[in-house]
Amino acid sequence: MATPSDTSSIDTADAPREIRSRKGSAAARGARRPSRDAVSQWSRFALPALLVVIMAVFSVVEPDTFPTLDNATTILTTQAVLAVLALAALSTLVVGQFDLSLGAQLGLAQVILPGVLSRYQVNLGVGILIAVGVTTLIGTISGLLVARVRLNSFIVTLGIATVLQAVVLWFTGSQVIFEGLPESLVEFSTAAVLGIPMPVIYVAVIAILVWLLLERTPFGRFMEAVGGSRDAARLSGINSDGITVIAFALGGMLAGIAGVLQASQVGSGNPAVGPEFLLPAFAAVFLGATSFRVGRFNVWGTLVAVVTVAVGVSGLNLLGVPQWVNPLFNGVALLVAIIATRYLRGTAMN
């Protein structure tokens, strides 16, 4: 798996031993449990099962408001931005790198789009291309700095994120952009096909494409190999550097699309929006790695994680719990999931 530890300079020499010894102790305890295989088979579906349980519980507790089509539509629609950003985070995590500027890239795209629409009267398609093009370029630059200049991705993207925040403030003059916007911007996400809101369809299409790329093409396999070990991948004839750059570019592109969705759903560009999406997106990817392909970052796990957390939070809101319960729920869900994976599989998620 692409591990965050790969990006650090910490000596990995005793990491394998550490993992092995933990595995051993888990195996030792395993005597009293069903076999490891059975457990890991089962644990793959723990997260989706949790989602079902949460839905069942809230449906019983809130029979009038929770299990309604309206509520389902709302939850899915409002999570579209986060879902796409989580897929962006996924694409760099797979090659073993962090992109901490994704939130800021989202923020930039969601002011660029309304900005160019209102100032230059371009049509929506062109506006979207510009916004997504800019973030793709930024991703490419981060990727080049990481792969060619051999800088630590954590630090590089932290710097880029900070610079982008400055660019957003400069571009917007610290004002929300909401005047002179064409109706097409909002229609882009309020439209629906067969009653399914467009944002849900966008997410579904993007997710399928990313899934195909990651899990069904040689390129995706190579991305995972680079995430596993840059050296080993290179010695197998894989262009590790090129793949790293493309992963960052892909992350930038997806962050740009997330920004477009955000601008279109809100109908404006807010200079303060963006960074707050970053940590939930990463949390969703890590949470998602506990299901389906356990121990590997994967598309479906990531999406289920986004939805599970959103459903939980939505149910709690309907119950009228205080504000602080929401972040508590998010955090506890992530911690429980990775701890459970650690003990069920006996290996670290990192």
């Binding site: 798996m1 300079s9 000596d11 993992i19 070990s229 010695l235 197998s236 894989i238 121990g295």
Partner: protein
């Protein structure tokens, strides 16, 4: 070290009685009674999967035995104890992964494990360094306590890992030291430095358990030897009067080697032949390598010998394009490699299996299937053809006898020998014309080694040019048609046919002979 009459009266350094460990119903360790006397070097032998590692992990507190007891220095250990407690019982371990912090100094590495000399909360640097120097002198390592471990040669690192385990202040509290394949990563000619340190320790009354696959080492070093097979203790005997043949027979349990050999040859058979191409390097110069020219002809197995630091691994990397060539050129067949990169070399039919199996040769956290097909995943309409991929990997697993027969197992879960088989299978699937291997049988058991060698001979006889680096000269003698000896990054000698003997290679690696012992360590440092 010759414990004879008095051993009966003294308490053994370590003993186990009826030690048993089962994993999902299978006994991995079955009723093992082992006694290690004080001052004894006790070798532990067995194939991969014979229970050696499990035994050691039980001693280390990593596994909790299902039954039996462990006594160290007369003190019975509790059924379960954390690995951190082992040291308190007077047990110390040097694992294959040495567990040193590469970016810290020697002195700090010692302090972290054995405790720092302190005044209040502060480290007394002078005392700390004085002690470090004592340890280094004892080990025969010439380095300053300030040296980063990263800058030490492998041999010195291994010695340091041993040094960490010993307490020099006052009498020794160490009962038993367990060395798990300490020479696996060591150049053969440095091994005696390690042996000296081990003998000195034994001389201080420490019982040493020495795990190794190299029989000649055990012959040189051990007082007694215990063989494990299928989790059972087969025999414990005095090394004096035991031949290698006896040991191999016991390790394999009758005809095992022959069975392994025939399996390989029969399944591979007279297969498709490889495009015949020679590998040529002309005036190769790069890091650690000075103007080396060589050729490996199709059908030939060329061995590369030399001390660690002589440029053996670097030569492989230069030929493969994994490292920058300052000058010189490499050609495969008629084609001279222009943009010399791994990807191009692979396209031209070159295969390279690096020494660092975990870090560079395979992807530990991916499955056997994914590793096997990594070079060229089977594709149908732009997408990976899962069905064909599964079929190809199952075939490769059967042909190379990878255990367990499970394409979906993570490579990290396999033993070293089986990982090596996966790597061979991965490369051989593309019928490379030229195969470069750096330490292909390092840490691999006798049976798997025979299989790997058989595969290499088979590849050569079907027309591949094979180049093998091995620090175990006996392996080179067994396998190679011709051997080049590297010294200081240049070819020092070449021998072929009957002239290839371990003695000749050894002499050539040192240039002259004697006094080279410490030279070895010094030249690596530069």
């Amino acid at each position: 070290m010759t414990e004879t009459a008095e051993t009966g009266t003294t308490v053994p350094a370590l003993s186990t009685r009826g030690l048993t460990k089962t994993f999902s119903g299978r006994a991995v360790l079955d009723d093992v009674d082992l006694d290690v006397q004080r001052g004894e070097i006790h070798a532990l032998l067995g194939q991969n999967g014979s229970g050696k590692s499990t035994l050691i992990k039980c001693l280390a507190g990593v596994y909790r035995p299902d039954g039996g007891e462990i006594t160290v220095g007369g003190r019975r250990l509790p059924r379960a104890f954390p690995p951190t407690a082992a040291r308190r019982f007077g047990l110390a371990f040097v694992h294959q992964d040495l567990g040193l912090a590469l970016d810290m100094t020697i002195s700090d590495n010692l302090g972290v494990v054995r405790g720092f000399h302190r005044s209040g909360p502060f480290i007394k640097r002078r005392d700390q360094h004085a002690e470090t120097r004592r340890v280094l002198d004892f080990l025969g390592v010439r380095a300053s306590p300030h040296t980063l471990v990263r800058d030490l040669p492998v041999t010195a690192r291994t010695l340091l890992a041993i040094g960490r385990a010993i307490d020099f202040s006052g009498g020794t509290d160490l009962n038993c030291l367990v060395l798990d394949e300490p020479t696996a990563a060591l150049p053969d000619n440095d091994a005696h430095l390690l042996f000296d340190a081990v003998r000195q320790l034994a001389g201080r009354g420490v019982g040493v358990i020495y795990v190794s696959h190299r029989l000649e080492e055990i012959e040189r070093l051990a007082d007694r030897v215990t063989v494990l097979r299928d989790g059972r203790l087969i025999s414990t005997r005095e090394m004096a009067g035991t031949t290698r043949r006896d040991l191999v027979d016991e390790i394999l349990g009758g005809g095992g080697l022959r069975a392994a050999g025939t399996r390989v040859t029969s399944t591979v058979g007279p297969r498709e032949s490889t495009p015949r191409k020679a590998l040529r390097g002309k005036g190769l110069t790069g890091v650690r390598i000075q103007d080396v020219s060589l050729a490996v002809e199709p059908g030939e197995i060329l061995g590369i010998a030399g001390l660690a630091g002589s440029g053996r691994s670097e030569l492989c990397r230069l030929l493969f394009g994994a490292q920058r060539l300052a000058s010189g050129e490499v050609s495969i067949g008629d084609a001279t490699l222009q943009r010399h990169r791994p990807a191009e070399s692979i396209r031209r039919g070159l295969a390279y299996i690096p020494e660092d199996r975990r870090g560079q040769a395979c992807l530990m956290r991916m499955t056997v299937r994914e590793n096997l097909t990594l070079l060229r995943p089977p594709v149908r309409r732009g997408l990976i053809d899962k069905k064909r991929e599964r079929r190809l990997s199952t075939e490769a697993i059967t042909r190379f006898d990878v255990r367990p027969h499970d394409a979906e197992a993570l490579v990290s879960a396999l033993s070293g020998g089986n990982q090596q088989k996966v790597i061979l299978a991965k490369w051989f699937a593309h019928r490379p014309s030229v195969i470069i291997l750096d330490e292909p049988v390092q840490g691999v058991d006798v049976g798997a080694k025979a299989q790997v060698f058989a595969q290499l001979r088979q590849a050569a006889s079907s027309g591949a040019a094979v180049m093998v680096v091995d620090s175990d000269f006996d392996n080179l003698v067994e396998l190679c048609d011709r051997v080049l000896v590297l010294r200081h990054g240049a070819v020092a000698a070449e021998m072929a046919g009957d002239a290839v003997t371990a003695a000749a290679i050894t002499r050539a690696t040192f240039g002259i002979s004697e006094e080279a012992d410490h030279v070895a360590l010094n030249e690596q440092r530069t």
